[in-house]
């Protein structure tokens, strides 16, 4: 297997996750990192034993002959960096959100297509073990056709990522047209969109701010609760981003024509709904046992996966990267269809236009 030469540009917090995954991947070597702040590039290189670090992307691309560049910068510079990488013949793996809007996302993808290269975006939870199991069950037909989908993402404003943007009114997330929502919505709608028919969906969004104002800057104007209804053909969906409900959940529930399934990404469970098959009150005694048995089987599978060393925190990113790198080696194409990425971004654009029209937050119920 050809060992791919990997580089990272953008040495902030999320770059650690990428470096940690690449370190353990077969067939890939992290050979260089780059950040316009040389001290940040240095710290990532030193901590992960990366041979070279740069503060100039063109210099890194010229000297390192990279097969893949992981772009872990804020999205404002994804397009120009993609262009630089494409000109140097490097495939790109981009952090979400891919771009400021779908139009820019299309330009990124077209740049890569025009250069005869490949790209994908870090939709890693969709490749985590529960997501892979869900895809397998969906393909097997046990759920039937999706009728309704509920995708829920919790967010902790006091958590390590939340704190970073709450403490800094100048944080790059506040500069996004959709602010916090735009930074998180991929994970809601990249689960829904593949299950909708390929028609332009109806999108109805509302949002509000639940927390109290503190600082009087951009960290205060940001909305923090989002609810979205969608309908595409004969499938409907409901997406939520919720910053205040506890525990901080990350779930997908698909109501199908044959069965209903709930995927819990945080707890790594994929459970088909129990149903009453026997008559009368006696029949109602059975489903909780059925659910318990399914959860027990899931727990056993998770323990076995742990024993097989398949339970890393970013296991989904490892799987996604293995697929992406394999596609580059054998030319079989990227693991996420470009059309699917664009459809997700179109939905996001529509939501942002409804809750931040002209960049101004519109609070539901006010």
């Amino acid at each position: 297997m050809k060992v791919l030469r990997i580089g990272i540009v953008g040495c902030g917090k999320i770059a650690d996750g990428h470096a940690e995954i690449i370190k353990f991947l077969d067939g890939a070597e992290l050979v260089a990192v780059c950040d316009r702040e040389p001290l940040l590039a240095e710290q990532l290189a030193v901590r992960f034993g990366v041979p070279n670090f740069y503060s100039d992307l063109d210099e890194m691309l010229a000297k390192e002959r990279l097969d893949v560049v992981h772009i872990t910068t804020p999205p404002a510079v994804h397009l120009p960096i993609t262009r630089q990488c494409a000109a140097a013949g490097a495939n790109v793996f981009l952090e979400k959100p891919l771009a400021f809007d779908a139009a820019e996302g299309r330009q990124i993808i077209q740049t890569i297509i025009d250069a005869g290269l490949q790209m994908t975006v870090d939709y890693w939870p969709n490749f985590d073990p529960p997501a892979m199991e869900f895809k397998r069950l969906l393909a097997s037909g046990v759920i039937g056709d999706p009728v309704h989908i509920e995708s829920f993402i919790g967010y902790d404003l006091a958590g390590p990522y939340g704190q970073a943007l709450m403490a800094d009114g100048g944080h790059w997330v506040h500069k996004l047209p959709g602010k916090l929502f735009q930074n998180m919505m991929d994970h809601i709608f990249n689960r829904i969109v593949p299950l909708l028919p390929n028609v332009e969906p109806e999108v109805h969004a509302f949002a509000f701010k639940r927390r109290e104002s503190v600082r009087g800057d951009d960290s205060d104007t940001m909305l923090d609760e989002l609810r979205v209804y969608l309908r595409g053909g004969n499938v409907s969906a409901f997406g939520s981003l919720c910053s205040h409900a506890r525990p901080v959940a990350n779930t997908l529930k698909v109501y199908g024509t044959k069965d209903t399934i709930e995927v819990d990404f945080s707890n790594r469970t994929v459970i088909l709904a129990a149903s009453q098959k026997y008559p009368s009150s006696l029949g109602r005694l059975v489903p909780p046992f059925q659910s318990a048995a399914r959860y027990f089987a899931q727990a056993r599978n998770n323990v076995l996966a742990f024993r097989r060393h398949q339970s890393q925190y970013f296991a989904g990113m490892a799987t996604l990267l293995e697929l992406f790198y394999a596609g580059i080696r054998d030319g079989s194409g990227p693991p996420i269809a470009y059309d699917e990425i664009i459809r997700v971004m179109d939905v996001m654009d529509s939501i942002i236009q409804q809750v931040y029209p002209g960049g101004v937050p519109v609070e539901a119920g006010r």
């Binding site: 940040l40 710290q43 060393h309």
Partner: protein, 342 residues
Amino acid sequence: MKILLTGAGGFVGKRILERLLERGQTDVRCMLRDTSKGTALQAIAAVHPAAQVELIAANLKNPSDIAAALDGVGLVIHAAAAMKGSPAEMFLDSVVASRNLLDGIVALDPARRPRVVLISSFGAMGVAPLGRGAMLDENTPMEAHAELRDVYSYAKLRQEQMFWDYHRRFGFEFVVLRPGVIYGPGGGHFSNRVGLSMFGIFVHMGGNNLIPLTYVDNCADAIAIAALSPQANGQIYNVVDDDLPTSREYLRLYKQQVKPIRSVSVPYWLLLWGSKQVERYNTKSKGQLPAVFTPYKTKTTWGGNRFTNAKLKALGWKPLVGTREGLRRAFEAFKSEPAKAP
């Protein structure tokens, strides 16, 4: 002389202001990210009405904030440092911020460059090769692989290296203080050198090691003395108090005076063996569990050393508060902070 104090709103920063004013300084510019959090500084200033204490909002990550902060300053005491956050954030807040400050200083006319005092850390000293029980002093070589310890130590080491580099290149007056474990009311309840709280139980790992404590007022006074002493130029001073307790004694006193906590003691040999297993498992499992323990971390954190403050005392410093009294005050304050207890 106008003094710029960075990190003035922090645990040590507030006490540094107090000690500077107690030692007769009358013109201090306190730098904070958010001056609305300067209430404690204003209270300290109110005790010294003749002194001019100025609070300025500045973020060292923004180079544009720095020139105004340095205007007319004859002494900079750099106490700002990141204590938590991701590695990149800690590096930004400690190292990049320091580089910006240094760039601001060397941009000044050489005749107007202030004396610079850096509050570094014991983590800058390379203890792993020394063996258990070795005496640490100002001649102990710097840490060669701080990145193998923890992000805080790595950032502090890189920060100190950078200050020495600028000092050599630009020749401004420079003093380094390396405090051990700073403690006192408002501080943390336990240093990692004593142990860690894991799964609801406190795992005591320090054994009979001496804990290099320095009471926050003692540490702040050491900083003020070194900052104001002409003979301190170009020198390093380790800051530890007298009569240091062992880790076991600290834990016993905490249980007696603050609250009874469940604890289990792990001997050093077992810790070292366990660390090797954790490190191996991390590699074998492709990072399924983080390498929170490694032999290198164990050697540097729980190997145990001896400490001296002779050089600092030769400068005229002596502890304002004895260790027994310091612990009593700290533990008394800790009683009202159950959320910070393990």
